[in-house]
Symmetry: D2
């Protein structure tokens, strides 16, 4: 049988995959970045065992991309995002984080406390 800690980590992964693939591709600009970040946080916080979600849209990265392409908006993807999430499952607290590493959005477990 999986342990509570393993189930907690599984639940944390579900939230991360959900957040990313629900919202990747959304049209985003510096002006609309805040409302999108809030919606991402509040929608995923609905999911079971999800205590807190913190989304930052990297406005400098976004502005640099738009300046380079002379566009007004682009599609949301991992290089414009930092995400932290706290999940709790049967007394085990899991913290996870997504950030860019070597040009890729990397989702990882920060801590598991049971």
């Amino acid at each position: 049988m999986p342990t509570d800690a393993e189930n907690a980590c599984f639940e944390a992964g579900i939230k991360f995959g959900s957040l990313y693939h629900q919202f990747a591709g959304t049209p985003v600009s510096p002006e609309s970045a805040d409302s999108l970040a809030r919606a991402m946080e509040e929608s995923i916080e609905n999911q079971p065992h999800c205590e807190d979600v913190r989304v930052t849209v990297l406005e400098d990265e976004l502005a640099a991309e738009l300046a380079a392409s002379a566009a007004d908006y682009t599609e949301l993807t991992g290089r414009f995002l930092e995400v932290e999430m706290d999940v709790e499952y049967e007394g085990t607290a899991v913290r996870t984080r997504m950030e860019m590493e070597d040009g890729y959005p990397l989702m990882k477990l920060v801590s598991v406390d049971g």
Copy 2:
């Protein structure tokens, strides 16, 4: 060659399909309905020729669904939404609307003024 009015209607359709299929499936509850509606509006308003988007999440419908299923949240789908959108293309103004009809979300052209 397509007319400006035809191009305006094509652009309006693109925005509607984008809005619906980007956000359908998002976890939603009465508490998170507002932030999701704002993100839907502001993200789609980024798209070219899109003047204004107004999204209402039908909180009574949502509350009724949750009460019936004893759940805390559900997935966003057309029966919880009313959407109006104004598109302008080369002087032609198009208004579109999505609402439920016979149990289905129906997207339609309200007016085309060129």
Copy 3:
């Protein structure tokens, strides 16, 4: 530091959340169910540590829904799906499964072997 088993479970959760929220809302009918199931399997198998994905669209459930609503197609959601997935991370093998339970799609860990 998280254990290999915890990381394996986190990775398994990411794949499940990705699969569900990438494809929920896709128009589906009995005729298009197979191509959608294959695309779901092959796209998620691209993700790191994902060994195998098996998706079954429940055609009887789908046909019953369409008959009840006199529609030709509907939107993909959990009640039309059974999914099994095998993930391997640093020598730990995780099997996961999604199926309906009490009217809800439940994603769960089946086994963790390290």
Copy 4:
């Protein structure tokens, strides 16, 4: 009242926005490109008034991106796609096409025949 041609163009736009925002962000590699293209075609062909959808994943573009980043897969986005679609509405036939122009995926009306 909108004309049949205007409604046909609106319907064509809906299909394009749906296709793009349902599938953008899907993990894709040269090996999984075909199954994804087939699923995109067959799922959107379910929608009303949609006669035919032809999706080509640009495998050379995809291979070049993967070679440049030393990755095994990437996320589907417009620069890996060519799409043609035929819509028919009350006797008006609309052909639409998406292709890259100046680095952006551009959706456009090719012809409207009523």
